[in-house]
């Protein structure tokens, strides 16, 4: 049986599982043009999609003339503020959805989480809200802890750096260990830098500290940066920032 696609998981999760697959809810013999998942009913005819739709290259089943209820809802663009809010990480399973901060993602990955699931991480740029991020995650469904996939987009260093986008695929246990390792290695040096900032009567902000840590990680690990390592460095920079600025860094 065709499983729910990423957009369908997000859609179901946003309603806390009320939009479940079931009799009269899903047509297993037809597919959604965009996500390729089973057709959640009622379908939306292709002709009714937005006139500004330009992402035809994302369509998984171009032989279908219908959009499922989830993709139809996403094309209307109502999801934007709700999906992202002010928090940069979004997690959804067919039963629940939640937004979280990057350090919360780290703590979330430490524990068992239900699968299938979808993880999205965005950078600081609010323009990303207009970029149909949910479509990019179509092939990045997490089916198990050992094959966790996290899509990240628009991660930016300082204000002038190029935005980095990719999909990390990892064993969640190994990823958590990697984040711990990166935080541990960077902590003494960053503490020293922050102490010097304070000596100059400058109060380091969270944004400054996180970018400072990330900059050092990128310099240290360049040029061999895999998608997993990039995301681990990004998460570690947030975790370390939170620890150091809250005084838990020792």
């Amino acid at each position: 049986m065709t499983p729910l696609s990423a957009t369908q998981i997000i859609y179901a999760g946003l309603s806390s599982g009320r939009r479940q697959e079931g009799p009269g809810e899903i047509d297993l013999h037809r597919f959604c043009r965009i996500c390729g998942g089973p057709l959640l009913l009622p379908p939306k005819p292709l002709q009714e999609r937005s006139g500004s739709w330009t992402d035809e290259n994302l369509c998984r089943r171009k032989d279908s003339a219908y959009l499922c209820r989830a993709c139809g809802w996403f094309t209307e663009g109502k999801n934007r503020a709700r999906l992202w809010g002010a928090r940069p990480v979004f997690y959804a399973s067919p039963r629940e959805s939640r937004t979280m901060t990057v350090p919360e993602l780290y703590h979330f990955l430490r524990e068992e989480f239900p699968a299938p699931a979808v993880f999205l991480v965005r950078g600081h740029d609010p323009n990303l809200l207009r970029k149909h991020i949910q479509w990019r995650v179509l092939d990045a469904v997490t089916y198990g802890r050992k094959k966790t996939r996290v899509l990240f987009c628009g991660l930016q260093l300082w204000r002038h750096g190029g935005q980095t986008t990719g999909t990390a695929a990892f064993d969640a246990d190994e990823f958590v260990l990697l984040v711990d390792l990166l935080s541990r290695q960077a902590r003494p040096y960053i503490q020293l830098l922050l102490a010097r900032q304070r000596d100059k009567k400058k109060k380091p902000t969270a944004w400054f500290t996180q970018n400072l840590v990330m900059e050092n990680f990128l310099k240290a690990l360049h040029p061999d940066l895999t998608m997993n390592l990039y995301l681990a460095a990004y998460v570690a920079s947030h975790v370390l920032t939170e620890e150091l600025l809250s005084g838990r860094g020792g």
């Binding site: 065709t2 499983p3 390729g36 330009t54 998984r60 089943r61 171009k62 032989d63 990019r136 995650v137 179509l138 092939d139 990045a140 469904v141 089916y143 198990g144 802890r145 050992k146 094959k147 996939r149 899509l151 987009c153 190029g162 935005q163 980095t164 986008t165 990719g166 999909t167 695929a169 990892f170 260990l177 990697l178 390792l181 990166l182 290695q185 960077a186 003494p188 040096y189 020293l192 010097r196 000596d199 050092n216 990680f217 310099k219 240290a220 690990l221 360049h222 040029p223 061999d224 940066l225 895999t226 998608m227 997993n228 390592l229 990039y230």
Partner: protein, 261 residues
Amino acid sequence: MPRLRFYLQTPIAISGQKPPHPLMLDGILGYAWALRNGYGKTPAEVHPENLVFPELPLEKIGERCYAASAAFLPPEAAMYPTLLVRCADWKSAMARYGCPETAYDVAAGWRQAHREPYWLLSTPYVDFYYRGDNQGVTGLLSIIFQIRFLGGKRTAGYGQIRKIELKEKAADWSVWRDGRPTRPVPVKIAGERKDLTPEWTTYYPPYWAAANNAWCYTPPVEQWLPVRKAKEIADTLELFFAQKKESLPPQKGKEKCGEQR
């Protein structure tokens, strides 16, 4: 069993917009087969019934599943993010709509110029393992060698093949290696395995066709993408931060304090 080694001259470009997928030998050979048999890309290919399954000189382990591995990377492979420029596509717009406007807006819409996020996989070579007829495979490889490139952004010069080497006697890692799949293997062929996580993915060419999806056991990421070992990362960071600490200028205030003492 044979092993194919593609020596590369330039990095392989992998799109950052979509989750990466491994390079598949049957996908590459399938493309050569389609070209040889005159199957071009047409709009009709969106219908799954119009897709042709390539008959390749490879052994099958089940219906439509070839004994041909995904790419294997050497330990020295590296990866880094980049942004590639895509020029404004005013020519396609003109070809599609004619000239109804006096000017095309090349700063908005699908024809706008922009930077696309890509990841460059820098590796001296990629390996593939298979079971099958060497002569038939070599015939298809001659077409691939004429195409000369692998992966994305081939027209920009990424993924250039320097040479292809066929070693006739190598380990048989065409489907499994140490109990883990080296290519997507459908659950209905491999049977239920408690130690592996099945994923909903394609297992035969063309790999872009979502209609081909099935529950499969997929190869580990460290086989087809570079993964740095924790010890190596720890050593790199330790050295880097030690050097940074040494290079920090002494604090003026503290020096004065020291002098006064």
